[in-house]
Amino acid sequence: MQRYVLSFFILLAGYMPLSAQVTFPDNGVQDKRAYHYALTNATIQVDFQTRLDKATLIIKSGRIVAVGKNLPIPVDAQVIDMEGKWLYPSFIELYADYGLPEPESAPRGFGREQFLSDKDGPFAWNEALRPEIQARELFAPEAKKASEWRKFGFGAVLSHVRDGIVRGTGTLLSLHEGMAQEIVVKDIAAAHFSFNKGSSSQNYPSSLMGSIALLRQTYLDADWYAKGRNQQELNLSLEAFNRLKGLPAIIEAQNWMEVLRADRLGDEFGVQYIIRENGDAYQRLNEIKNTQAALIVPVNYPAAYEVGDPLDARLVSLAEMKHWELAPTNALRLAEAGIRFALTADGLKNKSDFLKNIRKAIALGLKPAEALKALTATPAQLLGAEAHLGSLQNGRLANFLVASGDIFESEAILFENWVQGHRYVLNPMPEAEVRGNYRLQIGTQTGELQIGGEYTQPDFKIILGSDTLKAEGQIERNLLTLRYIPKSSENKAAVRLSGWRQGQNWQGKAEQIDGTMLDWTATFTSNQTPPSPAPEKKPEIPTLGTVIFPFLAYGNAELPTPQTYLFKNATVWTNEVEGVLLETDVLVQNGKIIKVGKNLNAPGATVVDATGKHLTSGIIDEHSHIAISRGVNEGGQSITSEVRIGDVVNSEDINIYRQLAGGVTAAQLLHGSANAIGGQSALVKLRWGLSPEKMKIEGAEGFIKFALGENVTRKNSGNLFTERYPQTRMGVEQVFVDGFTRALAYQKARASGKPYRRDLELEALSEILEKKRFITCHSYIQSEINMLMKVAERFGFQVNTFTHILEGYKLADKMQKHGAGASSFADWWGYKYEVKDAIPYNPALMHENGVVTAINSDDAEMGRRLNQEAAKAVKYGGVSEEEAWKMVTLNPAKLLHLDQRMGSIKVGKDADLVLWTTNPLSIYAVVEKTLVDGIVYFDRQEDAKKREEIRQERNRLIQKMLAEKKGGGAFQMASFKPNRIYHCETEGDE
């Protein structure tokens, strides 16, 4: 939903003065001028799609008053002949902090905990919420930085304080070095947001999902506040937040997944964010396009990596190499997909690369008009500032560039950048073309002077007799200085010439090596023969690699599709009353199991000979932390039921593929165990290559992580972190009782029909009370397990699953009576005090007591050999093979309420299947194929092919990088950034 209709009205709020009456005094005699100019004979790019040749631009008092061909020149205007020059509207930067103070973090001692804001005044409880910050009140013009920006072609910047999750308003400033009062184009131009808490020293949020939850709750709180429902507090932050409404809302995303997350959040609150992406949007064009968001796009292409050493080259991942190659195509692909975007110099280490990198994109196929649009018209429109900026039409600010030619398709030089009608010289414009051949006479000696090189930076050669000598020199306006060393000079003494231009010729004085002075002249003879004008050949667009899904090793160029498969002659572990069927066929179609039986036939089906092999339903990992972005724990508070792993599912994790290779087809992605009530789970299928949203299991019920014991009481943090409540198991109980007591009150308030503040934390807890959300509780010690069951019973619900549950064998009867399931490790123990009493017989003992028992991993490594872990229930507990197998398939499906569609081989269920080389409980079992929804996502043969493809693709890219190094391109050290492997206890963001 685009909301730019408003922009017309907002536009009227612009503060750009048209008359030059000001409130501030001058020191000295007033020097007020009209600054009336006529720039004639120029090639004028009026806007991104209109170009006029031999045209005139007339400006007065900082604004454009006329543009066109054959315009009458006002008598009082200064006329500047722009013959041969190109005029462009200067660029607009939407993502700057020009003129603003750098955010400063308050020093925070290690281990210090801060629960509330330290800011003085009645502002938000959280320091990351700063809607009251207004850039218009804080900026100061900075001559040096303004000059930098102008050098790269910018005339105006949208500046905001880059600190916090809600960052207040940005202000649109021109880059004229005037008074602060004079350069404001639009004082309140945009609202700014991010998912980074910035300088805040508070505990909360400590994760991406926490940032998202905080922003969601703030929208709700602001609404509640706006409706005047809150009579208990004055909150200037919420008041300010409400004033952000209607402004263009700009949010920062670290990668394309965050673009999607931001857009989803915006949709929830009726806001269409403009999203500052990070140069990788090309990796998911379809999903990005569907957001309908306009993007702010950087040109921060990575430098090539140091890959000279074949062993160290392994430090550079395929994803990094491919991104290096494809990043310059980002803008091009966005334009082709019809996505609206503005370009930004933000993210560049060196802003001088800005135009260079845009030219790189153009060389790869980006249309120059699209580039100019993204630098001028689009940013102006996004801010509703098109009356002031973005084109050279009548009435706009006189912000324009003077260039030596087409700035996009050639290495044209930027001579001048005019801002608000003020002329800023970037590179001195030569007065005239001086390059050519001259007959040289110094005293009586004759020869030749050749002036060549660049228009703005000529170079010189002197030919005397048979000697061709390089001369050093420079031309400033009409004065020339030259110096050369004649061949006869023994001690490198130089002849020095000084001269001036006379018509087309030069003349002046020369000092010989012996110190005597002579007259010299250089008479123009001919233009320089241009350096063999190679027929304007467009450089070939190089062959590029393809975008793969996900964008890392083992990704696919095309997403695999469901097919009809007929598995013939397999040993089929049904997990149903039929048990294990020998020499049985299974037919899969449209993602479902269609038939199970003997001698099946299906015309058109791909037949898989499964003779001697075992076919099972896919492994479901009830406790996984793979595929999660930027933090698995929101440990900032003891209750964080408002955070959702579903907001931060990461489809670009190699561990998804690795789990598939271990026969895992679905998983519960759990919040960690750093606090008593953690976040909401995401139930996903391992659909390798699909976007995060599409990995989520449709219609799955809601789950949430609870935790007990050492982690939530911070016992494993040494003697630090002793402030957060609770510090004992006694306190843990009270956290639960308090949470559910408040949730009951919340339910009551909600049911009363009276207005109530929507509270995401209590909403999730209410769902538990209403049996719409189910608990998976991290647990070890019998006392606390018993306690939680009692709390649940007091509030009238059951604990769905105890996970880890290493002392479950001590109270399996109680669990059975309560109705709780168990999801345990097979034999992991002994790593901390509370797991000292763990025994590998635990799953078997719980199972024998009628507890639905699963075996899980909590670990990306163990997750891919859960078949071995299941087998331990046979070894240690004497559980039957079939029942042991159910512990990693059907039982976790039951615990996750997915057993209606997963967990067994039954007609009508999802075709989430694994073909094993042998009995899956054997240590010798290896996965042949893994299917999710009837789609083969892992295939042993295909995997071997992929290994080879990866080798070839890496080699191609390495050779290309080495070639670029030869060519003198920029380089960076190899810098493998390992994927974060999360466990329950991992705290912190990325």
Partner: protein, 382 residues
């Protein structure tokens, strides 16, 4: 050695639901000859004896074959069962590290960077509650090492049964552990990892190691050095070949560097511990006859583009390349509580291409050979 606790392995197999509230009492010395009659005997040298028999007396195997002397022996019927040599757990902190999260129970890391004189055996806790759980999975000997700093100290081989460390001692102080400084370092901290960067501190550290070895060698040439230096004394036998130098390294270049240093200083017996990247330099290891103690196979590949099963496939590939490999479980992780899974490492290696009996060798005879205790262990030789 007083005993070889094969007997208890069999007991463990017979009574799988063993669970005592207290630690089991160490076994008495063998009094009567015992014959295992029938079953499949995996000899640990690659061979399998079907339907065989085995006789042992006073803790030593006296006979193995299709038929053995049964006179005067207690006969145990092992028909239908598989009999293996006891497994050897390599490069572990078992007995020095009970519960990693509790400082009071961590005893494997002495302060300081250079601790060649520190001896693991004196701290070995025979009453560790971990030991029975590991022994019951067939692990009967363990190679116990200190682990920290650059030179962490001396390792010993211990039997996993005994009243005290002296009782459990199999071979004392057989090797010195040197942890090679990493070429690359992970920047950032654990919750916010940065990229990987070259370790800039390294040159100084390497010079320090070089210096230590040069001095140790000069010291070793003196029979009665004055003053006595305990650290250099501990390194003396590296140059005679009576003590093994265990080099802890994972990255290919680090292994090459470490081996080159040891060779330069004429260290006689060199073993690599870790070796995640060993396949890249398999030829080099083979040519220099450097055996390898490969850290836990049950791990994720190092790089995203690595074959998904790369760690599982390593033993087969290294074996094929002619490298002598033993399997370890907890070198990097200092997590001895999981070492009861050692046999499953061999199983996994067999699932991914290694001959099953060779896989067995990697947790029996190869470790014994690498530790130089094969003769003493005399396992399965009639």
């Amino acid at each position: 050695m007083k005993f070889y606790p094969i007997f208890r392995l069999l007991l463990a197999l017979c009574i799988p639901t063993w669970a005592f509230a207290q630690l089991p009492v160490p076994a008495p010395a063998q009094e009567k000859a015992i014959v295992l009659q029938g079953g499949t005997f995996h000899l640990g040298n690659g061979q399998v004896l079907q339907n065989g028999a085995l006789r042992f007396e006073k803790g030593l195997i006296t006979e193995i074959g299709a038929q053995v002397l049964t006179e005067g022996a207690e006969i145990i019927n092992t028909e239908g069962q598989h009999i293996y040599p006891g497994f050897i757990l390599m490069a572990t902190t078992l007995g020095l590290n009970e519960i990693e999260a509790l400082r009071q129970t961590r005893d494997y890391a002495e302060t300081g960077e250079l601790n060649p004189n520190v001896r693991a055996l004196v701290a070995f806790n025979t009453d560790s509650e971990l030991i029975p759980t590991i022994r019951n999975n067939g692990v009967l000997l363990a190679h116990i090492m200190p682990s920290s700093g650059l030179v962490s100290g001396l390792s010993s081989v211990m039997a996993l049964d005994g009243w005290n460390w002296e009782d459990a001692l199999h071979t004392p102080d057989l090797g010195l552990h040197l942890h090679w400084p990493a070429l690359y370092e992970q920047t950032g901290w654990w919750a916010e990892p940065g990229g990987i960067e070259k370790n800039e501190e390294r040159e100084n550290t390497l010079a320090q190691i070089e210096d230590l070895f040069r001095q140790a060698k000069a010291y070793a040439k003196q029979t009665n050095p004055e003053p006595v230096n305990l650290k250099l004394e501990a390194m003396r036998e590296l140059f005679s070949g009576k003590r093994i130098l265990f080099l802890h390294a994972n990255y290919a270049k680090e292994m090459i560097e470490a081996i080159a240093l040891a060779q330069r200083h004429e260290v006689k017996k060199i073993v690599i511990i870790g070796g995640a990247d060993a396949l890249v330099i398999a030829d080099f290891l083979k040519k220099n006859q450097i055996p390898l103690i490969l850290d836990r196979l049950h791990r994720l590949p190092d790089w995203p583009e690595d074959p998904v099963w790369h760690p599982y496939e390593l033993p087969a590939l290294l074996h094929q390349a002619g490298v002598k490999v033993a399997l370890a479980y907890d070198v990097e992780s200092n997590a001895p509580m999981g070492t009861r899974n050692l046999p499953f490492l061999a199983g996994t290696a067999a699932a991914y291409g290694l001959d099953r009996e060779v896989a067995l060798q990697m947790i029996t005879s190869h470790p014994a050979q690498i530790l130089g205790i094969a003769e003493k262990q005399a396992h399965w030789k009639g």
